[in-house]
């Protein structure tokens, strides 16, 4: 019997690249009700189908491109597509999302999820169109940078309206932090590009003419209208200066002042004056326009261009906040033109800018300390802020050439190879390099320590969610200060575990629905109640906001089970040493409270595990908790594996 799907389109596309077999199947109703779509449904598939301990770059790994039930609808920001896989960078749960139009287009083509499995012998691309899929030879595309790949591919299939996700040379060469690129936007973290590269899939191109219907159009559109109206009155929406509408780069002045940007490989959390300067220069000289993802009311995507000089670039997406930090603060570079050029290089080669900048910063510190010399770096002088060296290194990393081979493994593996004291200065959690949200700052402070430690994909600020969604907006979400002890004291460890648990559950729920998480910052226009109303009207299921949080929690737990199977334990949830020390310079070097002691970390993790219902000694979800979440089968499988 065919189920009547609303919100979802109801189909899964499974592509076996080894046998070139394409199977279309229906979405499972029970799984969809338990997990919605996105990371939730994918987590269930990967838990069921991946064996523990497999090689992330081998034929057993699978990569799922997923959307949620609200993707492609009028719900503001419903543009998400999320890739889930076992990460080659962290060897545990990997997820990475991006916006643009790929997710909605995939649903219009008739699929909620695309599962890629096996390994192709020669380069291929996948052409998905209106309920059909084909595997085609991509020998002629292999080796091309992203823009050229897209240009050539558009000539063959789909034309200008088709949406493409592709990998660059870095993904082909299995650089462990290679990205997926779509419409200039990146799903960069965790090395999804390398997984696709290992499968020899150069690109996926999608075109669909279908529609996405909702169960109750009247109810749906009335909530959407209310949300839109609320958003238009908020200072962080629309086209205003210093808002999402001015791009993520507009946070630079504020975040720099509050000590949130890692500087000089994390030696400090603030480079005085530079945040303001970068933003001013970019806005005045280099930004030439902005674009929104599909169905977005914020339109944060900025485009920039260096028109002349040594660092000339064509129009390029970005640079975004994280990229500016990675190629600015991390490596002490204050040349904005060179920064845009580095961002551009990473985009065309398909490299994660955060991991790339962080790994280069790590190499620079090793060079400064004399742990590596010119002999190791192929004659490159790796001084702080030397952008000629950075340019050469990005090229080397993308093509896995010489010293780039080592750096392309990521900071953790590079540090282990260099040896000695090097692992002490590599700033990562579980292998994923830390982005520019410093736990020693005065905005969300120590909450980051818990978030980085416990996020399923490793050191990440926004997966599952930024703690600042609660810390910055608790009043608008209807909470009182007394509901969340420690919420106004960023540098005290109290209460952080509970805050992070709440925000992570919220973030997971939003991700499962297929919505960009920036929109969850627009409270009170959007609060969990609005999401619940929209998802209920769209799917026709009655989902309360409590149920939404339960879904989020279920996903956190299942991902943790996945990680537990990959031998992730409490010991892997600690912050790197570097970020626990008082900043070496800058205004925060005079604030001793910025230090995070082992006791602080222990207390915060204890609180977090307790809030989660996980075993404190190991950090593994307890079977009671899993049963409460309706995951008894998974609990059995986990305990069987652990014993």
């Amino acid at each position: 019997m065919k189920e009547n799907w609303n919100g979802f389109v109801g189909n899964i596309l499974r592509i076996d690249l080894t046998s070139k077999k394409i199977v279309k199947s229906a979405l499972d109703g029970k799984t969809a009700q338990m997990f919605l779509g996105g990371i939730g449904y994918s987590a269930k598939i990967l838990w069921d189908e991946l064996k523990p301990g497999i090689d992330p770059l081998g034929p057993e790994n699978k990569l799922i491109i997923s959307t949620g039930p609200l993707t492609g609808t009028l719900c503001p920001g419903s543009d998400s597509w999320i890739a889930c896989f076992k990460s080659p960078l962290t060897n545990c749960w990997g997820e990475t999302r991006s916006g643009g139009g790929l997710g909605p287009e995939l649903k219009r083509a008739g699929f909620d999820l695309v599962i890629l499995e096996g390994i192709s012998e020669s380069p291929v691309y996948v052409w998905i169109h209106d309920g059909e899929a084909e595997i085609k030879a991509a020998v002629h595309l292999w080796g091309n940078p992203i823009p050229e790949t897209e240009r050539l591919l558009r000539r063959e299939e789909g034309g200008i309206e088709a949406k493409i996700v592709s990998i660059g040379p870095a993904g082909e060469k299995l650089v462990r932090f290679a990205s997926l690129m779509s419409e200039g936007r990146a799903a960069a973290r965790c090395g999804a590009g390398a997984v696709l590269g290992s499968k020899m899939v150069k690109a996926i191109i999608v075109r669909g003419h279908g529609g996405i219907s909702v169960a109750d159009p009247e109810a749906f559109i009335s909530v959407v209208g209310k949300v839109e109206e609320g958003q238009s009155r908020l200072p962080i929406c629309g086209t205003r200066e210093g808002a999402f509408g001015a791009g993520t780069m507009s946070w630079l002045p504020f975040y720099n002042k509050r000590g949130v940007i890692l500087t000089k490989n994390g030696a400090s959390n603030c480079w005085e004056g530079k945040g303001e300067e970068f933003y001013k220069q970019l806005k005045e000289k280099y930004v030439i326009g902005s674009r929104a993802c599909e169905s977005c009311t914020m339109g944060c995507g900025q485009y920039s261009k260096v028109k002349e000089g040594k660092w000339i670039t064509p129009t390029t997406k970005g640079p975004e906040y994280e990229t500016i930090a990675a190629f600015g603060h991390y490596i002490l570079n204050d040349n904005v033109e060179a920064l845009i050029y580095a961002s551009y290089l990473c985009d065309i080669y398909g490299i994660d800018t955060i991991s790339c900048g962080a790994t280069i910063a790590f190499a620079m510190e090793c060079y400064e300390n004399g742990w590596i010399s010119k002999k190791d770096t192929d004659g490159i002088e790796l001084n702080w802020g030397n952008m000629d060296a950075v340019k050469a290194l990005i090229e080397k990393i993308a093509h896995r050439d010489g010293f780039g081979k080592l750096l392309g493994e990521g900071a953790k593996r590079a540090a282990e190879k260099i040896g000695g004291e090097a692992p002490e200065i590599a700033v990562h959690v579980k292998g994923l390099e830390i982005p520019a949200h410093d736990p020693r700052g005065s905005y969300a402070g120590k909450s980051w320590a818990v978030q980085y430690g416990t996020a399923s994909r490793g050191g990440c600020h926004i997966h599952p969610q930024e703690p600042s969604v609660l810390i910055g907006y608790y009043g608008r979400l209807g909470f009182k200060e007394s509901d969340w002890p420690g919420i106004t004291e960023p540098l005290k460890p109290e209460g952080k575990g509970k805050i992070v648990k709440w925000t992570q559950d919220y973030g997971n729920a939003v991700e499962c629905m297929g919505i960009c998480k920036f929109h969850s910052f627009t409270s009170p226009a959007i609060t969990p109640a609005e999401y619940a109303a929209m998802i209920s009207a769209a799917t026709g299921w009655n989902i309360s906001s409590e149920e939404l949080f339960k879904i989020g929690e279920r996903v956190s737990n299942l991902q943790r089970c996945f990680n537990a199977r990959e031998d992730i334990r409490r010991k892997d949830d600690y912050l790197p040493k570097r970020l626990c020390q008082v900043p070496a310079f800058g205004p925060y070097s005079r604030v001793p409270e910025t230090a995070i002691t082992r006791e602080d970390l222990d207390a915060m993790l204890d609180e977090y595990y307790e809030a989660r219902g996980w075993e404190k000694e190991t950090g593994i979800p307890s079977s009671q908790k899993l049963q409460w979440l309706g995951l008894s089968e998974e609990a059995k499988q986990l305990s069987k594996y652990l014993s």
Partner: protein, 152 residues
């Protein structure tokens, strides 16, 4: 002659979010479909950023091309051209549209064309970037010209 109102684009504001397209198909067909929309944002890959959406200006070429008498009619008050139930879905109007905005609804086999939501266009009401307006036709020049000057 009565004053006509027209749909117009304010230059330089569109961020290609496509909410106008989604609203268009949702208000007419209760589905989120780009291909059933009668307005299209223009997405260009590469260097061009400042492109305006394609909108129907009710020019009447579709009506001239239509071979079925009475299948397309221009309204008396607002001069909106509408598709009537006499439409056979022959598709003659599709190449006649200079903006490529007409499609055939695969379910009803009727041409889909902008009807300005009977004088209250959803796309204008809901554009988050205020890129669309619905104004008296003699105001358009003034409005777009002024915006261009401000942008310099």
């Amino acid at each position: 002659m009565g004053k006509a109102k027209v749909l117009a684009v304010v230059p330089g504001r569109c961020r290609q979010c496509q909410r106008c397209e989604l609203y268009c198909s949702f208000s007419h067909f209760k589905t989120h479909s780009i291909s059933l929309a009668s307005i299209h944002t223009v997405r260009v890959h590469g260097d061009g950023l400042s492109l305006e959406p394609s909108i129907c200006i009710q020019c009447g070429r579709c009506m001239e091309a239509c071979p079925v008498p009475g299948a397309m009619k221009r309204g008396a008050k607002l001069e909106i051209i509408k598709v009537t139930d006499k439409c056979t879905g022959c598709g003659q109007c599709i190449p006649a549209c200079p903006f490529g905005l007409i499609t055939i609804n695969p379910d009803t086999r009727e041409a889909v064309k902008c009807d300005c939501c009977d004088g209250d266009p959803e796309c204008v009401k809901h554009c988050p970037y205020y890129a669309l307006v619905y104004v008296d036709d003699d105001k358009v020049t003034e409005l777009t010209f002024a915006t261009r000057i401000i942008q310099r």
